[in-house]
């Protein structure tokens, strides 16, 4: 069977080629993941202190009102959606999209090429496509996004803003999550602190209203870094699985190849022996 040995040999070669690619992708994802995780840790103190600050202000001042604390559920919502730029990352993008609750007529602000593609044919308004590459979003971009969202929210374009991203728990676990940005509400589980008399430069309202865009930007940046880390981790796991499958396939095919070669040799010998006996 020289024909079939050749076919098997070709298949082994092609699987080996694929394995090389998946191996390289795994290594790339691993090295990028380390940086992404560091990034994620660095953002944490920033938005945590902002959140605490905004909550403190809300709790200790009963006589203030801000347009950022009032929501309107009749109006369309605005969703900031953060996913990947590329596929081949296991269920990373699909899992996030499955968790979304976007209604017709809502606004979206996509971050990541896959989000833009996913919503291209849907009945939603895209607020801006300027931040289509998730890997390139920096903190200054988040600042601009936050200002844009805060302005449109104040102008009454939408009654709610939330952000959907993939939460990075550890290298094996990441889950899609949605957090409400506006209207701003303090976390209920938080322990109450005694009120202190504080001087607010320019008044409570002014301080709070300028804090909110900063807070939104912090949350979005945090969500982006967490999503990027999840994407890389997810890609690494997918590629690891692909490598394992390729190894198994190669072992299987090699066995088949050896068998078919052996049977070809045996046949030849039989033929020679048969010929010489005559």
């Amino acid at each position: 069977m020289p024909q079939s040995t050749k076919i098997i040999k070709n298949r082994i070669k092609s699987v080996e080629g694929t394995k090389q690619i998946t191996k390289a992708m795994e290594l790339v994802a691993t090295s990028k993941l380390r940086r992404a995780k560091d990034n994620m840790e660095r953002v944490k103190p920033y938005f945590e202190s902002l959140r605490e600050l905004a909550e403190d202000i809300m709790e200790h001042n009963t006589d203030f009102s801000s347009p950022f604390c009032k929501g309107d559920y009749e109006k369309p919502s605005c969703h900031v959606i953060i996913a990947g730029d590329r596929g081949l990352a296991g269920g990373y993008n699909a899992n996030l999209f499955r968790s979304l609750e976007v209604k017709d007529g809502d606004f979206i602000l996509p971050i990541g090429k896959k989000v833009t593609e996913y919503f291209a044919k849907k009945n939603v308004t895209v607020l801006t496509n300027a931040y289509a590459l998730a890997a390139n979003v920096r903190s200054s971009d988040c600042m601009q996004i936050a200002r844009l969202l805060a302005n449109e929210y104040k102008a009454g374009k939408f009654g709610r803003v939330d952000v959907s991203y993939t939460k990075f728990v550890n290298v094996l676990t990441f889950e899609p999550d949605t957090e409400i940005l506006l209207p701003f509400a303090p976390n209920e589980e938080r322990e109450k602190k005694a009120g202190v008399l504080t001087i607010y430069e320019g008044g409570v309202d002014a301080v709070f209203n300028q804090l909110i865009p900063q807070y939104i930007s912090g949350i979005i940046y945090g969500a982006v870094t967490s999503s990027v880390a999840s994407e890389l981790s997810s890609r690494r796991n997918a590629m690891q699985a692909a490598n394992k499958n390729a190894d198994e396939m190669i072992a299987d095919l090699t066995l088949k190849y050896n068998r078919s070669r052996q049977s070809a040799i045996t046949q030849e010998i039989t033929e020679i022996v048969a010929g010489s006996e005559n």
């Binding site: 953002v43 202190s49 600050l53 403190d56 200054s140 430069e201 320019g202 900063q214 940046y221």
Partner: protein, 133 residues
Amino acid sequence: MSEYRLKIVTPDRMVFDSFAERLVARTQAGDVCILARHTEYIAPLAIGEIKVKADGKWRTASCSGGTLVVTGGETTIVADTFEWSDEIDLERAKRAKEKAEERLKNNATEFEFRLAELKLKRAINRINTGSKF
């Protein structure tokens, strides 16, 4: 002189987490100086210079907005950007300044105009702080 805990955080890193004697920051209502045992205080920051005296030495930095919080004897600056004067990339700031000026000339929409204006302010602030060093 007595010291107090000062923390400076930006989205990208924890810039400073140590003890300081004195801090001069530009809030939207003007410059303020924070010494130890300051009362509880919150102020929005403007684009401007921030000076910190720690270990007997003054350091200058450029800040492009954020919030200054004094609470429980601790001071925290949550800044959009914060760069010590020796970290400022002057070339980049100059390029940003030119770009912003260009944009201001080609009358864009109001939103873009305001954006360019802010960019210009930030660039000028960086150049000022950076060239003093």
